[in-house]
């Protein structure tokens, strides 16, 4: 379609770009404030801090035992990523390939954990986990985080698997491949991009998941985001700059993974992908 050049169309476009601009500028200001503060020697009631230093990063690292926290965070995150792929992908495959009685019901079952706020099932789940002795442990945090991520993987993977022509698998079987060989040599290579995309999104989600981790974590199983919350919540005890340094570290850990994820998936095609490639 040629560009609409009427005055009202131009005004409308201008208004929207202004909105986008304001959003981005304020976002930049917000992130900039935290980053500036994390490098500030002292910053009270002025445009810019009195001086700059990197020492808050070292003190934050030591004070909050960030090496421990980061180790725990990534143990939890990678376990969640691996397990949600392991459970979710086969389910998505079966759901995409078979029609069986009660499929609708199963689908609703898998949808519910995404449609219900984490707090709602998080509180009873935490109670159950404490009852069976997993409360406060890394295992407990992993299990709790899996509840929304497994359905997430299923939902993202179903359309992706549906658009893979089942005749490819049939062809492999005609040529004598058994189930394991079909899976290893045919399905896995085809599905890898989709699985990778889904799992990277799970990874970003899990790093940022506050509610479930907060409810189930103990002192030794805190992830970065929960540690950050406690430090902000208990502000005043520690220098605000070292909290900011920790917040910046947190932002960078997620940012790296988000950028990696965006290299693999075009985010706009999560819903539309199947249709587009079918054409």
């Amino acid at each position: 379609m040629p560009k609409d050049t009427t005055i009202s169309a131009r005004l409308w476009a201008f208004a929207i770009w202004t909105l986008v601009g304001l959003f981005l500028i304020n976002l930049l200001g917000l992130i900039g404030s935290v980053v500036t503060s994390s490098f500030a020697t002292r910053w009270l009631g002025t445009w810019l801090p009195a001086g700059f230093t990197t020492r808050w990063y070292f003190s934050a690292w030591a004070e909050f035992q960030l090496d421990d926290v980061l180790t725990v965070t990534f143990q939890i995150v990678f376990a969640v990523v691996f397990l949600s792929g392991l459970i979710g992908v086969p389910v998505a495959y079966a759901m995409a390939r078979r029609n069986f009685p009660g499929k609708q019901l199963v689908m609703i079952l898998f949808l519910l954990p995404i449609l219900v706020p984490p707090v709602t099932f998080g509180i009873p789940l935490a109670t159950v986990l404490y009852k069976v002795g997993l409360g406060g442990s890394i295992t407990g945090v992993i299990l709790a985080n899996l509840v929304p991520t497994v359905p997430f993987v299923i939902l993202v993977m179903i359309p992706f698997i549906e658009q893979v022509d089942p005749r490819i698998e049939s062809a492999a079987r005609v040529f004598g491949a058994n189930t394991r060989q079909v899976f290893l040599h045919v399905l896995l290579p085809i599905l890898t991009p989709g699985v990778l995309a889904a799992l990277l999104l799970v990874l970003v989600r899990t790093i940022a998941m506050f509610e479930l981790t907060f409810l189930t974590a103990g002192p030794t199983s805190q992830t970065l985001v929960v540690a950050l919350y406690y430090s902000v919540f208990a502000a005043g005890v520690r220098a605000v700059q070292s909290i900011d340094a920790m917040a910046v570290i947190y932002m960078l850990t997620t940012l790296v993974w988000l950028i990696i994820a965006l290299r693999f998936v075009n985010p706009t095609q999560i819903v539309a992908r199947a249709k587009r490639e079918a054409n």
Partner: protein, 299 residues
Amino acid sequence: MSGATLNEERVSLRTRLAEKGIDGTTLLILPGIIFIFALFVYPFCYGLWLSFQPKVGGALANYEKFFSQPFLYNTIWTTMRLALPVTLINLLISLPIAFRVRLMRNQRLLTTLLILPITLGTVLVAEGMIFYLGPQGWFNRILLTFGLISAPLKLVNNYWGVFISLVITGFPFTFLLILSYVTGIDPSLEQAAATLGANARNRFREVFFPLLLPGLAITFCLAFVQAYSVLPSAVLVGDPANATRVISIAAYQAATEEYDYPMASAIAMIMGVTQLGVVALVLALRSLVYRGPVAAAKG
């Protein structure tokens, strides 16, 4: 003889099941089902049961307590008052931006920038807001310098603090979903409408909007769920004792401060019911409108 018959029967049973769509592949959903039952359905049911086992009083005591104390039942209204407008605002901002981005040839950079707040997480956004929007922050300083305001705006530690925080953290998600729905609509439909005499406004009203409506409903539900369970920002940049005492704060306090798990479970159940009520309402409205394919119809 009998062995052969048995074998035949077994084969036919297997075939019969396969015809209904149940075979080895279908069984792959079993681990998923077991997982959901163990970690979602069972805890949920346990929580429901627990909510009827109050520390004191009869089976319904927790619910009676919740609905008799304004301190507790007002949290539903407080949460709705935040979550509903925030979700609507995010939808209303995302829609025109998504329509702009759709026309761009290189969408990736802008999309990445717009969904950047996903990486920030609620805690960093809250921390940033305290700095940036606080009375000494850059935002108020700039407005004061340009003479747009005479005294610093109070934007944190009240209703608006949580509101802004929810818009920032909820926008990327809403935008991403809406963008993918918008780009999923066959562009030839717009061209067809144009050749038939529809101007930009009519193309949106007659073609895009009705086709987007189902997607907008889904997006609304998912974004609403996120906003409804707001917790960290309600505490950090809100007014957790009054204006932003949302329902999840009440639930957390019962669980982690009073160690009253039955009461916490009861609040969680009330939270789920009210939230699902809104979702069910939206989905019911959705089923009243068309929800078929958004590509052009094909033979």
